[in-house]
């Protein structure tokens, strides 16, 4: 196996996803002249930035054998806090950024600590924190409120050629996390813990500390997504995160990462995010209502998972 394939965790299924992307693209082009225009493709990219970042966070957690359902509450709270503090100057913006980063990391670390040290199932832990955070966000404000400096709002809408700044950030984050997974001991530990936690512990890895770090990183990435979303909206929406908990899981699974942990990587996730965004866009051009897009998404999950279920063998 070549080093590149190992480093990117490329799998045969990624070719399937790539082929599907190509098919969707061709179908999109034939169905409308406006599909392959820079304007539309820019829109597609804008639409996938937030999900791409959150799915990246979820990928890391799932690789370690966990799951993070706290995004719904966490994104909402961070968005509200950010918009409340960001004001309209660079100074207040940086203060808000610092606070949001600290909150994201801190809340993630709490998720990790409850999971690792108390032993509560991550699904329950993060479901609990998500509920609490959603409540906190609504306690701060029931209606979208606050603001961000205009230059920050402009920045989130900015483009470099056909690449939105948000997309550049996504690419940078994926490269960075991919690099972390391949070249740092932290990355190796994520895979080791996800593959077999008991064996990782016997091997002398600090399993509990690593888990705290994993969820903290997940919270950190959420902070980035929350700031981007708030910048796009221009206000802090106390329901900004609704749905992101479950939506973040689909691309991870479709990208070939096993829910059981230990296998997969960020390459699959980013390909799946692109596929899902293009598919939604294409269906819009074909005047297929979003209702059928839901059906498609559910069937894609089942197809993807059935594809991988064979690898696990019999129960």
């Amino acid at each position: 196996m070549s080093t590149l394939a190992r480093a990117t965790r490329a799998q045969p299924v990624h070719l399937v996803v790539l082929a599907l992307i190509a098919i969707v693209f061709v179908v999109g082009m034939t169905s409308s002249d406006r599909f392959a225009t820079p304007l539309n493709l820019g829109n597609v990219q804008d639409q996938m930035v937030a999900l791409a970042i959150v799915a990246l966070a979820q990928t890391i957690v799932i690789l370690s054998g966990g799951i993070d359902l706290s995004y719904a509450g966490l994104l909402s709270l961070l968005a509200v806090v950010f918009a409340t503090l960001a004001g309209d100057t660079a100074g207040s913006l940086f203060l808000a950024m610092a606070v949001v980063f600290a909150l994201g990391i801190g809340i993630g670390a709490i998720n990790g600590a409850i999971t690792a040290y108390v032993g509560v199932h991550p699904l329950i832990t993060t479901l609990g924190t998500s509920t609490i955070l959603a409540g906190c966000a609504l306690l701060i404000t029931r209606q979208p409120s606050g603001s961000v400096p205009l230059f920050f709002e402009d920045f989130t809408y900015g483009r470099l050629g056909i690449l939105p700044y948000g997309m550049i950030a996504v690419i940078a984050l994926y490269l960075l996390i991919g690099f972390v997974l391949w070249r740092t001991t932290f990355g190796t530990r994520i895979y080791a813990i996800g593959d077999n936690e008991a064996a990782a512990a016997i091997s002398g890895l600090p399993v509990q500390r690593t888990k705290v770090a994993i969820y903290a990183l997940s919270g950190l990435l959420c902070a980035v997504a929350a700031m981007y979303m708030t910048g796009r909206f221009g206000v802090g929406d106390p329901r900004a995160g609704v749905g992101f908990d479950l939506r973040s899981i689909t691309p991870v699974i479709v990208g070939g990462t096993l829910l059981a942990g230990g296998k997969g990587g960020v390459l699959g996730t980013v390909l799946a995010v692109v596929l899902l965004a293009l598919l939604a866009n294409m269906l819009n051009f074909m005047n297929v209502s979003s209702f059928y897009q839901w059906i498609a998404e559910g069937l894609i999950i089942i197809a993807a998972v059935s594809f991988f279920a064979g690898r696990k063998g019999k129960s």
Binding site: I114, V120, A134, W294, I295, I301, V305
Partner: protein, 322 residues
């Protein structure tokens, strides 16, 4: 009296599996009594019969769902599709027919069918319960919206409304239905071979298989029960609200998991009781009522609920470790 007979007499022991479960149940009951007492002390209005009746009626749909959710959790599963089943069943069956018994018949059948699909994916296709039911949830959502074009209409028959809001001898019909269902499910779980096998399967799927349990069938049946329970809950909920909505039951998937966990079901399987999860459902619904009665910010109940989920799970975890 022979020596053998004396030995066979079972002496009480506080560490038995049953004694442990009984203590957990008492713990829940104690907690419910405490929050009710504190609320009553702050606002006597809370303990009025009308308010209590309100709480109970509101708790009924969650009660149905959580029983099904618990049974799925007992077989090491999870059902994220319950809320979607509630809405889909309510939308489809009320729009197809307007005769109350038939609405129920079609609805329960539909719930069973969807549950069977979940069970098939989990038991026969080796799909993780989380993903199987997540996919079902999304697909059902699409089907329901596509069918209604986004805006469900249709009126509910009078008898249907009565079932959900009416009373017989002062007892709400919904509660009678829940009580009957709860007794039936409790009996099924504790007193039949099927129920014991569900729990044994959750304790150790491998050992259950080797002792001759029909493991795949057990899993499918668990999801079917959950589907039927969700269908019942959906019908009673629209009957109570009076409007059929595409988002009927929204949030019940997470609330039912929360109530199941607080009520003593463990995601690792094999553990859970009908009285336990019903008490937990009552606690969750009471919280909502308490926040309103005390004039607190309504969002506070989310914060309390989340804290409760984590605390309960942590307490059960610590107890099982010691």
């Amino acid at each position: 009296m022979t020596a053998t007979a004396t030995n066979i007499r079972v002496k009480p022991n506080r560490n038995t599996v049953r004694a442990t479960q009984r203590r957990e149940l008492l713990m829940l009951l104690g907690f419910l009594v405490v929050i009710w007492a504190v609320t009553t002390a702050l606002s006597p209005r809370f303990l009025s019969p009308a308010n209590l009746k309100d709480i109970l009626i509101q708790a009924a749909p969650l009660g149905f769902v959580v029983i099904g959710q618990m049974i799925v959790i007992i077989v090491r599963g999870l059902d994220l599709s319950v809320a979607s089943i509630m809405a889909t069943v309510a939308v489809l069956s009320t729009s197809l027919i307007d005769v109350t018994p038939l609405i129920f018949a079609v609805g329960l059948l539909l719930g069973a069918l969807i549950g069977a699909v979940n069970g098939y994916l989990v038991a026969y296709r080796n799909v993780t319960p989380f993903l199987a039911t997540l996919a079902t949830m999304i697909v059902l959502q699409g089907i329901r919206f596509a069918y209604t074009g986004g805006a469900p209409g249709g009126s509910l028959p009078e008898t249907f409304r009565f079932l959900a809001t009416g009373s017989v001898f002062g007892i709400p019909v919904a509660l009678i239905a829940l009580a009957v269902t709860a007794f039936a499910m409790h009996w099924l779980l504790e007193r039949t071979i099927f129920g014991r096998r569900l729990k044994l399967f959750g304790d150790s799927p491998e050992a259950a298989f080797m002792t001759g349990a029909p493991t795949k069938l057990l899993q499918v049946m668990a999801y079917v029960i959950s589907g039927v329970m969700a269908a019942l809950a959906g019908l009673f909920l629209v009957g109570y609200v009076g409007i059929v909505d595409n988002w009927t039951g929204r949030g019940y998937e997470l609330d039912s998991i929360a109530a199941a966990v607080i009520g003593g079901a463990a995601l690792s399987g094999g553990k859970g009781s009908v009285p336990g999860v019903l008490l937990a459902a009552l606690i969750l619904v009471s919280l909502f009522n308490i926040v309103v009665i005390l004039g607190l910010s309504i969002e506070l109940q989310l914060v309390i609920k989340g804290t409760l989920i984590i605390l309960a799970a942590a307490v059960y975890m610590k107890r099982s470790q010691s």
